[in-house]
């Protein structure tokens, strides 16, 4: 199993390494990590710190996607939680009080959990399609955030306790990295050391069969959406804390797309039934390493083109069909038999088609069987 996992992750890791090398070439001090006022400081630390909210949201998203769902509302949930916490701090009389920050954080996270519960109920109990169910909060959530902040941009500054969450340090390490690391370890332990992970995957493969097998699919789906909401809420706190500003229109804007991208790059299939937490982690790092490269090396006008290019390359690398096709092209000059002429014209058409199927694994025997069971 570990061999399979490592094979599945080899391409995302290769892309991550390539991006790190590109960064190093654009900035020769890219790998330097120094102590600044006793805190770790350097481009790599910045990347990890900036990746923390994406890692959190993508962790929740991984589990949701594993149940064949999707959570589009994470950005809006982040906005709600970040806005509420900032509003509470800004309107409190004593910003430096630890109690104020604790109340802000706890209530904001409870709101995020309630939002997750709402999504979960729509999906699991009412049976609404996840993409539609979570669209409700994706749109209404930002409205709620605007109501919370009174349509203003808030600046929760001069609050050391709040600053710690996204922009502060604990024993020299950015606190957000520690939080994201802890949540990652906890998620990994809960899903891989217990049966929970398998149960989630089985629900994703076939909820009805899982139910018949005695798995409480409804409850599991509810739990993953609540977890996703919680992670998004925590990410919202980190984002507003890091930038010391809460703009309900921009907190976590498009983070759902980043998270889905991280999950997909990491080899988790959007069709559900399986997930890779390590893959998700690497996916999140790829996104942030790419962002860091874009800042120092790509003109603002071509940023989107560059990002799209990287994503297409990652997706193609993960598609066995595309790899085979590229392999054929590379081998041709060596004098080997060229592929039959019928292959070449069809290949350009099939390559893009294989992108959504990135992670439908050719390698993983038992899951292929699962897929067959599902489609039949």
């Amino acid at each position: 199993m570990s061999k399979l996992t490592s094979q599945r992750l080899v391409w995302p890791v290769a892309v991550l390494v390539a991006l790190l090398v590109a960064n190093l070439m654009a900035n020769h001090s890219f790998l330097s990590i120094t102590l600044q006022d006793g805190n770790l400081f350097g481009p790599l630390v910045d990347i990890l710190r900036r990746a923390a909210p994406i890692v959190l949201v993508a962790l929740g998203m991984s589990l949701v996607i594993a149940t064949r769902g999707i959570d589009l509302s994470v950005g809006a949930v982040a906005a709600i939680s970040g806005s509420w916490a900032s509003m509470h701090i800004v309107s409190s009389s004593d910003r430096t009080s630890v109690g104020v920050v604790l109340v802000a954080v706890v209530v904001a996270l409870v709101m995020a959990v309630v939002a997750g519960l709402f999504n979960g109920l729509l999906v699991s109990v009412l049976g609404i399609q996840p993409i539609v169910a979570t669209l409700v909060l994706m749109t209404a959530g930002r409205g709620l955030a605007q109501v919370i902040t009174n349509e203003k941009i808030l600046y929760p500054d001069n609050t050391p306790g709040y600053k710690l969450i996204g922009g502060g340090y604990l024993i020299g390490v950015p606190f957000s990295i520690l939080v994201a690391g802890a949540i990652f370890a906890l998620t990994a332990a809960l899903t891989r050391q217990t049966a929970l992970g398998t149960l989630i995957e089985s629900v994703g493969v076939n909820p009805e069969a899982s139910r018949l097998a005695g798995i409480r699919a409804t409850r599991i789906i509810l739990v993953v959406y609540v977890f996703s909401g919680f992670c998004a809420g925590l990410a919202g706190l980190m984002l507003t804390s890091n930038s010391t500003s809460a703009d309900p229109n921009s907190i976590g804007l498009f983070i759902e797309l980043d998270a889905i991208l991280a999950v997909v790059i990491g080899g988790t299939s959007l069709t559900g039934g399986r997930f890779s937490l390590w893959g998700t982690l690497i996916g999140a790092f790829i996104i942030e390493t790419m962002n860091s490269f874009v800042v120092i090396a790509i003109s603002p006008r071509s940023t989107d083109v560059f990002k799209a290019g990287v994503v297409v390359v990652v997706c193609l690398l993960q598609s066995p069909k595309a790899r085979r096709w590229f392999g054929g092209v590379v081998r041709r000059p060596t004098g080997r038999r060229t592929p039959p002429p019928t292959v070449s014209p069809t290949a350009p058409d099939t390559a893009p088609l294989s992108v959504p199927a990135i992670s439908v694994p050719a390698l993983d025997g038992d899951h292929t069987q699962d897929l067959e069971t599902r489609t039949s």
Partner: protein, 330 residues
């Protein structure tokens, strides 16, 4: 986007219907000089706002509402929440209601010709604020707004004086949203003044999307690559404020080791300027209310007004910021 905004409105309506609208309590009329000098009192003016996308915009709305109260105008205010269709619909409603003057900040530059024709046919004068439209200039009376190029020129002029004695200046630029008029024009304005000065070397220029988070992220990248930055030119305050955080995290002193010039002069920016973390701010004022109703009263009195009215805007150094801060409205 469209959906999001309307849903936002819906959610707002459902959740806290009783909440006071923003700015409704800030209409304290500061003087009655205006109402006595103009014949606009009691006139009905329809204003179709873009939406409430930023702190700047909220201040703009507050200013218009406050000025309406001050001038004794019956203001019909609508907000399009970034939706052009909605904005055109409210302008049409104004026409049907037969208001005296229509004013609006267009959501986008094109697509207003038909509704402007309608207003003209109905004999209702139109005034544009803050943003221009790409339409026949005879369809509206005037356009009141900032001159973004001028703002860039002012920022560059300050830098030229500030670094007059230095042999070389290493500069980084935090650009606004790529392709937006303020980002393009503020760059043009800067280049108009300093484009030919070889001692000003632009190490890097990258978009920070006009947000604090974007400014911080981009500045972190710049600081990691360039150890010798002397000057940051940020296209708005928020990005400058983000850059301050990045500079402080890198162990440097913003305002001293690295000088910062920004544009906007929102309250948070002015506070940072007063605290010495920013060196200079060029104002981009959202307080168009008084100028709007002045123009409206001239139009109603049948006077000719210039086709372009530029917002009255100032510039602030650190001492001026300290003095101006207590009265800062936004």
């Amino acid at each position: 986007m469209k959906f999001r905004k309307s849903a936002a409105l819906l959610a707002a309506a459902f959740t806290v219907a009783g909440l006071t609208a923003c700015g409704s309590d800030s209409d304290a009329p500061s003087g009655d000089s205006a109402s006595s000098s103009t014949g606009i009192k009691g006139a009905v003016i329809g204003f179709a706002q873009v939406g409430s996308e930023s702190g700047w915009r909220s201040a703009n709305t507050d200013s218009i509402k406050a000025a309406a109260a001050k001038y004794g105008v019956d203001l019909k205010f609508t907000s399009a929440e970034g939706d052009q269709t909605k904005q055109i619909a409210s302008i049409k409603t104004f026409i049907t209601q037969g208001v005296d003057v229509i004013a609006f900040s267009p959501v986008v530059e094109t697509g207003y010709d038909a509704v402007l024709q309608e207003a003209k046919a109905a004999g209702i004068p139109v005034i544009l604020t803050d943003r221009a439209v790409d339409a026949d200039p005879s369809l509206y009376k005037t356009f009141i707004g900032s001159d973004f190029i001028k703002e860039g020129e002012k920022a560059a002029t300050w830098a030229k004086t500030e670094f007059a004695d230095d042999a070389a200046v290493n500069m980084v630029v935090l650009e606004g949203t790529t392709g937006s008029a303020p980002a393009n024009d503020r760059k043009t304005g800067w280049d108009n003044v300093l484009g030919k000065e070889t001692k000003f070397k632009t190490l890097a220029s990258q978009t920070g999307e006009f947000t604090r988070d974007g400014g911080k992220k981009v500045m972190e990248g710049f600081l990691a690559k360039y150890p010798n930055i002397n000057l940051v030119y940020a296209h708005n305050d928020d990005m400058g404020l983000g850059a301050i955080e990045a500079i402080e995290a890198a162990g440097k002193v913003p305002g001293k080791d690295i000088k910062i010039v920004t544009i906007d002069a929102v309250k948070a920016g002015m506070e940072a300027l007063a605290a010495g973390k920013i060196n200079y701010i060029v104002e981009c004022s959202p307080l168009l209310g008084d100028q709007l109703f002045d123009a409206a009263s001239s139009v109603l009195a049948g006077k000719d007004i210039p086709a372009r009215i530029i917002t009255e805007e100032g510039e602030f150094n650190q001492a001026q910021a300290k003095a101006a801060l207590p009265d800062r409205k936004y």
